[in-house]
Symmetry: C2
DNA sequence: TCTGACTTTGCAACCCGGTTGCATCAACTT
DNA sequence: AAGTTGATGCAACCGGGTTGCAAAGTCAGA
């Protein structure tokens, strides 16, 4: 277990401190994305700034990606092992309006868009809102 | 001029107060979306809460729509006259990474997505990032 | 025209997510 | 052991967003 976490950190060139192991452990347990405030509640003895900087480090090193679903705080989810956070790694996200959980739809790539003349493409964010399978009646 | 603004307000069932006329006037002048903090700077004598509630009223009555481009504050842009803020009215937005302006690409509808089983669709937000025509070299 | 109900505005204060400065602590190098 | 670097903890701050409340404005009915 701990081995695998350390390995994941190592692959992304992140030094395996105790804090980082704990945070990564929590992240791997989630089936949906998690925000900094949620993380604060899970570790109620940990410092917000440390958690914040841990997420920053993870994001910079492409261990996690940030998701802006438009509903409150930014959320984070683990990247796939092969992810380089390039356009081809981008996928659709889904925000459930009932449970407020945000899902990575990693198998759904974002469709191509034809931009107006002289507009160049760098990146794209696509969030679908609706009701998730868990919340469906 | 003032006639047209009042007419727009009337069409959306918004009482034409002085404040609302001023804000709508500013909104019609913009070619890109504008945030509440930006609006505060334009009217530096106006109260933030009043501007805030004015935007809320406009949004509720579908005179403007909110754009969450993931870069700082929420921005707002005028809806088309025919807009009912339904899925068919949704369009792609474009955030320029150089000038930080957000464009409504009203002629580009958001492509359909096939969601996983039991996930239902309500809404979608799509923001493309890149460099706009004005900032292109 | 006066009155009372309702809406809008202005001001102040607050909330919360995000961010930073700084001192301390831990790990690693020489 | 001493020095260097990076990580952590704590406190404070910032900015966008939001609310409570009283004053001002609007307007219909008496
Ligand atoms: Mn994702
Ligand atoms: Mn738009
Ligand atoms: Zn759900
Ligand atoms: Zn631009």
């Amino acid at each position: 277990m701990k081995r695998e976490l350390d390995h994941k950190l190592h692959l992304r060139n992140i030094k395996p401190t105790a804090m980082r192991q704990l945070v990564l452990h929590v992240l791997t347990e989630q089936s949906t994305a998690i925000s900094l405030p949620e993380l604060e509640q899970i570790f109620d003895r940990a410092d917000k700034a440390t958690l914040y900087r841990t997420l920053k480090t993870f994001e910079k090193n492409k261990l996690i990606h940030r998701i802006n679903d438009g509903a409150g705080p930014v959320k984070y989810a683990l990247c796939q092992d092969t992810c380089k956070c390039q356009p081809e790694d981008l996928h659709v996200h889904f925000l459930c309006t009932k449970c407020n959980q945000t899902y990575c739809l990693t198998e759904i790539p974002i469709p191509d868009i034809t931009l107006p003349a002289k507009f160049s493409f760098e990146n794209v964010n696509m969030v679908v809102k609706g009701v998730c399978a868990n919340c469906a009646i």
